[in-house]
Point group: none
Chain length 255, copies 2
Amino acid sequence: MNEISLSLYILHYMKYSIDHKSPVPLHIQAEELLRKMIAEEEYQNGKLLPNEVELAKVLAISRTTLRQAINKLVYEDLLIRKKRTGTKVNNCIVSSKSNNWLSFSQEMKLRGISIKNFELHITWVYPDEMLANFFEIKTDRKVLKMERVRGTSDAPFVYFISYFHPRIGLTGDEDFKRPLYELLEMEYSTVATLSKEEISAHAADDVIANKLRLSNGSPVLFRKRFVFDQGERPIEYNLGYYKADSFVYTVESRR
Amino acid sequence: MNEISLSLYILHYMKYSIDHKSPVPLHIQAEELLRKMIAEEEYQNGKLLPNEVELAKVLAISRTTLRQAINKLVYEDLLIRKKRTGTKVNNCIVSSKSNNWLSFSQEMKLRGISIKNFELHITWVYPDEMLANFFEIKTDRKVLKMERVRGTSDAPFVYFISYFHPRIGLTGDEDFKRPLYELLEMEYSTVATLSKEEISAHAADDVIANKLRLSNGSPVLFRKRFVFDQGERPIEYNLGYYKADSFVYTVESRR
DNA sequence: TTTGTTCATATGTTTGTACATTATAATCAT
DNA sequence: ATGATTATAATGTACAAACATATGAACAAA
């Protein structure tokens, strides 16, 4: 690479730079920087990152240190390396790692996808038999129900229904635009620790089709989620209807 | 560490050793070795791994390389490092083993469902770009393709397509009515160890609808499965189309 | 036209080295 | 005894330097 394009790079990455005097480790700084970089539009379209040696040179860190940062993102499946070609953003639509406990919005943010809340509806309802049973409460004890439709700026792609255990103490006036599990953890010292999920395919009924702007009978991915706290006490029952092809559930298992 | 305890270590790790002449990278070998080590009972009880410099010395690899391996397991949350103390097994997350490794027919049997094979079709085909890439072979090298439709005595409910890596040595004349992973293990000494899966919902196209006796556009649960052996070498690529509501995927995760 | 061959260039692997950080243990002064 | 200090032993961070390997592209030979 010649002087000119090198200085272009320098210019380009001015806004992100590494502070060698900062107490935070260089590879952490580099990681942060990469996360910001790959959130940018141009990288979403499959543009390659600058190659390792050059980028290391520009950031004035060693290639090893840079690789340390890149590797982390590769492991998180946010970047894909290819020999002789380079490293680029893994822009496959939406996916969720099973052991990852990021909230929906956090994960979307990570991938540089901005999400829009289409609907947010809070009510207090009587639980049905099943829910009362799961929460281990009587059916005459009201629980907080949250309905939510979310998607990209273009169109909604998921319809959530959540029920929360009254024990938590939610009033319904909380700011539900905040990441949910953060809210529970910060304000209600309830930590979601265990989740049991059931994933299946369904045909959209009237309600679902309407919410997701689909025609009746369209395929949706349905996820039922039972969430527990540290003491394995039930805290949330969550139903999610995802527009087909908008959500891929990834699971990694080893025996 | 003195001579005696060092040689104890050597003895102890004789069974696991690193082959410097093998084509598989040292850090991969080290990773495998660690996985085996930490599976041992004594390490489950909070026993610390040997410290990095010593272990590196015993295995005759550099500390950096060893750390590469350890880091991967740390990232997977299998190991926990602690300064001044050492690295030990994180035995609190054993639940991920809930991921059953039963084969399809075994699992059905367990549930008391007798299954019927509707179709079983074996061919040799050229892999497409993606498959060749996964198998790390050229697109002109044929691979064994197995198609299979199975269900209850009433109706089919799943359509499988499997591709097997030529390395395994399958001829196509095997008895595919036997449990598949048993066959691979017994006859071809190929042990499926790691599986990465992607689950999503789709609308059935002509082919799928026909195989499963559904109408076009009906919802199906689609599962893509990448299967690897001990050395993380690819051995199978499997596509499964399940009739909606006939299959529920359950996942349990703990953080 | 097809098939090798080579070259350039990207990531991949591995080592050796050095110093920083930090939690604990041992020591010392009070 | 107890609080402060120091030493130690582990991981954490960082660099530079090789060499390995895969692959696209250009070119040459069949």
